[in-house]
Symmetry: C2
Subunit: 197 residues, 2 copies
DNA sequence: GCAAGTTCCGTACGGTCGTGCTTTTCTGTT
DNA sequence: AACAGAAAAGCACGACCGTACGGAACTTGC
């Protein structure tokens, strides 16, 4: 890895942290350069446009999410344990200072067309697909009701995470995470296959 | 109402619409002035600072929410009908072009201290209080389990709304609202008092 | 240890931001 | 109709934004 690549990654890692707090459009070349001990033009040279920077920040955040959440989850036993592993890791990811960068970015760009929004939509779709897949695996294992709606489960679970994010972050509610876990319990209880007959 | 007050309100109403799309920090004096057919300084004179403008936008949004959602809800029959009325009106409010202005503002300011954030927290707390009150009324009516957790219900319901907001707005999912209603059904089913013995 | 190429800095430009000041235009009252 | 006060315009400012370009400083391969 050349020197350039090295500093580029360092800048991106820093930028992801900043974006958690101020969002993608809150990022500025100047302040990022300052934090990286670079000149504005020095930093700019690595990206050539602000939009490219934002896209790469998004990509880096996605990589991190896959490392810390998505991939490890697939190593947990199929079905309910895997769902719980997902929730655990997701909550941990979300609890990082500044919260989840995608949540911040999502509400910024949900009405602003462009490459960033497109990328964001793709990532969010992938996330939903990941959830439904994990859930459907549980169905295939016979742990969840055969006619349970995976898309419904995904949206519900996402809502639990968002509510936790907001309650904890904005309102400073210490019990938000605990409530989120209870909500997941209820979700799972509703999906669990009844031992009928 | 003098002329000044009249244009001030017109500007604020316009600003609320804009803030739904670009957030509170996305508001700029210049573009607002253009839309209001005013000069920058002409508009600025009504607020004297951008932060004051943001605060007044927040206040106007709150007024609107109370008119369109909070107050009418209290006229619905206590208990489950009232909860459903809340969900109905809230979904309608949220479906307005640009979505809910508070959702946009909340993730912008959840990590940026200041008067705007403080105001936002207050409003959000009031919203949660409203939900818990509506729910507890249902408990008092005997429609919901006596030991049901109103705070849990509020966070869950808020999550349903947020998930709907994001799925519909960012992902363009047409079925998001329908899923939200199903989620509310499940929530209510879980809270409904069992006709035991 | 020198040449080639990458990495970074200095500086500058046009633009927009929020914000003051002064002056003109409009409103409402007597 | 005249006048006092409010409302809006005009203009200027300093700051910061993203972007561009040329040269200095450093790496790297030979």
């Amino acid at each position: 890895m050349g020197k350039g690549e090295e500093t580029r990654l360092a800048v991106l890692d820093q930028a992801v942290e900043v974006a958690r707090r101020v969002g993608l459009s809150g990022l500025t070349i100047g302040s990022l350069a300052e934090q990286a001990h670079l000149s504005k033009s020095g930093l700019f040279g690595h990206f050539n446009s602000k939009e490219a920077l934002q896209l790469q920040v998004l990509e880096r955040a996605r990589e991190r999410f896959e490392e810390e959440v998505a991939r490890p989850v697939l190593r947990a036993p199929r079905g309910e344990p895997r769902v719980r592993e997902l929730v655990d890791r997701w909550l941990r990811w979300d609890a990082a200072p500044g919260g989840c960068p995608f949540v911040a970015a999502a509400s910024e760009f949900d009405d602003q067309p462009g490459a960033v929004r497109d990328r964001l939509v793709r990532d969010q779709r992938d996330l939903f697909d990941m959830i439904t897949t994990v859930f459907r695996t549980g169905v295939a294992e016979g742990q969840f009701e055969a006619d349970a709606d995976a898309d419904q489960f995904a949206q519900d679970l996402y809502g639990v995470m968002l509510a936790c994010h907001h309650a904890a972050r904005l309102l400073g509610d210490r019990q938000a995470e605990q409530r989120a876990r209870r909500a997941v319990d209820a979700l799972l209880a509703g999906a669990r296959s009844r031992a009928s007959s």
